[in-house]
């Protein structure tokens, strides 16, 4: 593990507890560098969200980690020990979720809920915590912080609530922030503000970010590295510019081609390039590559042998058919 690696996930496997054949993650590995942003992209059901929950030790009941290591800042994360994880969550790892409208407890004030995380992890007085909360509210760009601390969540818009959630996640200056689809429920204009806020916080506090998203546009703009997931596996990982300019895995290429982009289409073509077929179910036991049934390049070996990730140039890719020649120098 490199010195500046903050989080390292190795060969993570997850299954449904009472249904071992339902394998949600089938060996996922990635590293997060201090102060950098790793984006994990993929479509629904690829396992990107559960990966983040596994790191937090917050797997929903009924899911179990069957193999793999999660190392954080040089030590194994005690993901099964709730008491030990509790000390880390909110303090060293913060998390932002997808649904800001449901993320706040309706019966407590906003200030109360942000202060809670500080009081839990730091030994300071309520009055000091309140001062900290007001300062945080200002930092995350909430209007009129002195008053808004005493408001109840239902009076805030979705974007404002997400700012509160971000304030909670950043309250104890964490080393790592996991943002699981933080802007999916928001309008595009609000999304831009929230992403700017997150990037600003990163520049100022040096926090590393794991951004879980399906939106390739966001990835292109904010990520340093990108990991692409498909059906429980990581199929490709590279530095952002490289992934967009020279995607190697057929799924990554298909995904990029299917993403609408302005000024792309010529007359007479179909509007978008599609990937035929659909994602296999988690129980489907394909012997080979899980993308093979939809892959335009699939050959015999793809249906028989699981492709292991290998390095082609500076890109890690799990595909039998990608050759060195396709990689740019």
């Amino acid at each position: 593990m490199a010195k500046d690696t903050l989080l390292s996930v190795e060969d993570l496997h997850l299954s449904v507890s009472h249904m071992p054949e339902a394998r949600i993650l089938r060996g996922v590995s990635f590293d997060v560098t201090r102060g950098k942003t790793l984006a994990i992209v993929g479509e629904s059901g690829c396992g990107k969200s559960v990966t983040s929950l596994a790191v937090m030790g917050l797997l929903p009941e009924g899911l179990t980690k069957t193999a793999g290591h999660i190392r954080f800042d040089g030590t194994d994360l005690p993901v099964t020990d709730n008491e030990a994880m509790r000390k880390i969550r909110g303090d060293r790892i913060g998390m932002v979720f997808q649904e800001p409208m449901a993320a706040l407890n309706p019966v407590y004030t906003i200030g109360n809920q942000v202060a809670e995380v500080i009081l839990e992890h730091e030994n300071i007085s309520r009055a000091e915590a309140r001062e900290r909360v007001i300062a945080l509210m200002r930092e995350v760009g909430l209007p009129d912080p002195d008053h808004i601390v005493d408001e109840y969540p239902h009076r805030l818009s979705g974007g404002q609530r997400q700012r509160v959630v971000i304030a909670m996640a950043l309250a104890c200056n964490p080393d790592l922030l996991i943002a699981d689809e933080p802007t999916t429920a928001l309008d595009v204009t609000v999304q831009a503000q929230i992403m700017r806020l997150l990037k600003g916080a990163q520049a100022e506090l040096g926090v590393a970010i794991v951004l879980i998203t399906h939106n390739l546009g966001l990835v292109a703009q904010v990520a340093d590295r990108v990991a692409v997931m498909y059906a429980g596996r990581k199929v490709e990982e590279a530095e952002t510019r490289r992934l967009f300019s020279a995607p190697l895995h057929p799924y990554t290429r298909g995904l990029l081609a299917a993403t609408p982009r302005p000024g792309r289409r010529q007359e007479g073509e179909l509007p978008l390039s599609e990937i035929p077929g659909m994602v296999p179910s988690i129980t489907e036991d394909l012997r080979g590559c899980r993308f093979a049934p939809r892959c335009p390049l699939a050959s015999d070996i793809c249906h028989r042998v699981i492709p292991e990730p290998r390095m082609i140039g500076a890109t890690s890719v799990a595909c039998h058919n990608t050759t060195e020649t396709e990689a740019p120098a």
């Binding site: 917050l58 913060g94 309706p106 909670m168």
Partner: protein, 330 residues
Amino acid sequence: MTARRHRSTFRYIGKRLIHAAFTILGIAVINFLLLQLAPGDAAEALAGEAGTADAEYMESLRRQFGLDRSLIEQLGAFLLRIVTLDFGWSFRHGMSNWDLIMDRLPATLLLMGASILLALIGGIVMGVIAARNVGRLPDRLISVGALLLYATPPFWIGLMMIVLFSVKLGWVPTGGMYDVIGGKTGFAHVLDVMWHLALPVLTQAFFYLAIYTRLVRAGMLEVLNLEYIRVARAKGISENRIAYRHALRNAVLPLLTVVGANIGTFLGGAVLTESIFSWPGIGRLMFDAMMQRDLNLLLSILVLSSIFVVIANLLVDLLYAVINPTVELK
């Protein structure tokens, strides 16, 4: 902000008061219609077996209900009497029905208040224990117990408790509100009443205890699955704090509206409980009125009980609006 909230609170209370007034009007109309359904002359029905068809009594009833006038006029007279709290005279008891009911109301309120409190506290405690141990032994025991209690006829539990605790063990009296011969005063009297209250309260509370236990358990489990609980976990909050601070309040708040809705059924249940334990409340009064076929008294009890429910509901709604910050008073 507070001034605005105050003003909207007043407007809200005003609206609720008007609503309550219309509800009471509706209740009166339903009662009037019920009376019209009675076979034969309403006066005869009202007198029933109560008076011995005393000609003077019949005449007074006819006058009281204006039976010689048109239906609309009768309705008007009926409503007017409710507004002026004139509920007629009970020959049986030699008292006006209003005095009779008001005389008995405190005993019923004591029984109701005590049993609601017991059911609420018990239900919350049991529900929380079950929810925090979901799927394990304590949850199984509480859930099965609640299901059994919910399916048991409350009056039967009351009778069986008399058999066990009064007849066999002799711990508590079989009925009444206080010892007739003792003539206790002061604190001794209070203790005496509490002693007599024990079985009726348990009888009355068990059924609702079962309901509230199930509601709290289900509510806790539902809330514990919500997004903001996951957020709280991500903040590193302990499971105890999550259960008691974040989940409990959200799970128990809706219970308050259920209690409000149950007040009517509580009153209805009082007829049974008070009959079994000879508790001198309006339930017992209703039982006696039924046995004596005193329809006028029966209707008076029904109307006044309904009005009582309306007022209680109003208070519960206001309380709910005050303690639940997400309610926007309109």
